[in-house]
């Protein structure tokens, strides 16, 4: 057997007794006659099972105990030759360790970021809900007139959020009319319009007449398809509507 090969090489018997070893093997591992002494306890079964295979050549990973480390990963190349076998061990631990450390670091960072994002998302969605609730206050102008100014983009979520409060307040004050003011509304989403239609229908069923005010041409275009099914009035602005219904009431 060539002893100067630059890797640990052992010639062993069937029961793992070392017959011969390379210089590098002597250099890397504690001197012992039993190969199992330098194999990690958890790798014993694997080594035995592998050698029991009916093949002449095989390679597999094995944890070994070196002079420097109690656990080092090696790739074992085995060549069987009659009653004996040659075992060549090539270290792979270092490259793995480096990559593993990096992987662990990245994983940790990703988890932290995920977690923070999740928390921020939770917080943000609560803020959006709250902001939606506050975007449609019901204001009692007089016994007969209520005002519902809507702020921001008109979305389904927003109308769902304001509906509860608005219906409750309208039911308590029982006005003849509600002015829904669109002056503060930005974009209108299609789902938002459907939800608005439902809101108006509920008002109608409660016997409350709905007047839409402050509609921009863009808003009007969105509402046009529902114009005929809904019993609503339109007024240019809050000023006109108030003059018409509120001031008239006190004259």
């Amino acid at each position: 057997m060539e002893k100067r090969i630059p890797l640990p090489l052992f010639r062993i018997t069937q029961d793992f007794q070392i017959v011969e070893r390379s210089d590098q093997a002597e250099h890397t591992f504690q001197y012992t006659n039993d190969l199992l002494d330098i194999v990690d306890a958890d790798s014993h079964d694997k080594l035995k099972a592998m050698l029991a295979h009916d093949v002449e050549q095989l390679d597999f990973e094995l944890n070994l105990i070196t002079k420097h480390s109690p656990l080092a990963l090696y790739k074992a190349f085995i060549q069987k030759s009659g009653e004996e076998a040659f075992c060549l061990f090539v270290p792979i631990e270092e490259q793995y360790q480096l990559v593993q450390n990096q992987l662990t670091d990245m994983q940790n960072r990703l988890n932290d970021t995920n977690f923070q994002l999740f928390e921020k998302k939770e917080k943000f969605s609560k803020m959006v809900d709250r902001s939606n609730e506050l975007s449609g206050p019901y204001i009692e102008l007089s016994d007969n007139l209520g005002l519902l100014p809507v702020f921001g983009d008109l979305s389904e979520e927003k109308l769902v959020a304001i509906k509860d409060n608005v219906f409750k307040r309208a039911y308590v004050s029982q006005p003849e009319r509600v002015l829904i003011d669109f002056t503060g509304v930005g974009n209108i989403q299609e789902e938002g319009v459907r939800e608005l239609k439902d809101l108006i229908l509920v008002f109608e069923q409660m016997g409350i007449h709905v007047v839409m005010i402050g509609l921009s041409p863009r808003h009007a275009l969105h509402l046009k398809p529902y114009r005929n099914e809904l019993q609503i009035d339109f007024a240019h602005s809050a000023k006109i509507a108030i003059k018409k219904w509120l001031i008239a009431e006190y004259l």
């Binding site: 990690d40 306890a41 958890d42 079964d45 694997k46 099972a49 592998m50 095989l58 597999f60 990973e61 105990i65 109690p70 656990l71 990963l73 792979i92 793995y96 990559v99 593993q100 992987l103 662990t104 994983q107 940790n108 990703l110 988890n111 995920n114 977690f115 999740f118 928390e119 939770e122």
Partner: protein, 228 residues
């Protein structure tokens, strides 16, 4: 869950985060975290260890599977975030892996199960030195300190930790977990209130016992309660 375990192992080894997560989320609809950890994730990781023994996969494959599994575990923890407002009275538990020990999934599952039971939990997966751990313990004073080890040669490190814990000026409960628990007799090392936990079923037993003691706690000393 046998069939699911096979599919899960497959997804982990492929490094398929999405598929792995989907499997666990589907199971989560019908099963508790405990059941999923005990009957899906743990057997899956054991199976992966076996595949290495059989030379069917490499250590690199194992590491990838561990990373994906870690990701999935983190996801199962997210819906507990809302419970993070702790009061002073909430019992505290701290978990960490022994230095240079990379088998951390078991400990992570344990830490999540503690959080699920409304404990105030700190979990350190990073490679903390023993001094750093002791500093944390002394300032935060957790009622439970949990650590795990899986590598036989790290037993000296474990002994060092346990010795340090017995020198503390208060008596935290120590939980030591790991698959090697049955191979050694640890009774001589560590403070008297050390429990060695080999698997999640034993953890469950510990939880049940802990519940009884804590019920008594509110009335006075442990096991003195007349209320049954």
């Amino acid at each position: 869950m046998q069939k699911t375990t096979e599919t899960f192992v497959d997804a982990l080894l492929k490094g398929d985060h999405a598929a792995s997560l989907r499997i666990v989320q589907n199971q989560r609809e019908h099963h508790s975290r405990f059941t999923i950890y005990n009957e899906l994730i743990t057997p899956a990781m054991h199976e992966i260890g076996m595949l290495w023994q059989q030379n069917k996969i490499t250590v690199a494959d194992e590491h990838l599977a561990t990373a994906v599994c870690d990701f999935v575990l983190s996801q199962t923890e997210y819906d507990l975030v809302q419970h993070s407002d702790f009061q002073e009275t909430t019992p505290k538990a701290m978990f960490f892996t022994v230095q240079d020990e990379y088998h951390y999934l078991g400990l992570k599952m344990v830490s999540i199960l503690f959080r699920e039971k409304d404990w105030n939990v700190k979990y350190y997966q990073s490679n903390l030195s023993i001094d750093h751990v002791m500093e944390q313990v002394e300032t935060w004073k957790p009622a439970v300190i949990g650590l795990s080890f899986a590598l036989a040669y790290r037993i000296e490190a474990l002994t060092a930790y346990l010795k340090k814990f017995s020198e503390l000026d208060y008596e935290p409960e120590i939980l030591v977990g790991g698959r090697l628990m049955h191979q050694y007799d640890f009774s001589s090392i560590g403070p008297p209130n050390t429990t060695f936990i080999e698997n999640l079923n034993e953890l469950q037993t510990w939880f049940n016992k802990d519940k009884t003691i804590r019920r008594d706690d509110s009335d006075g000393k442990a096991n003195t309660s007349s209320v049954i």
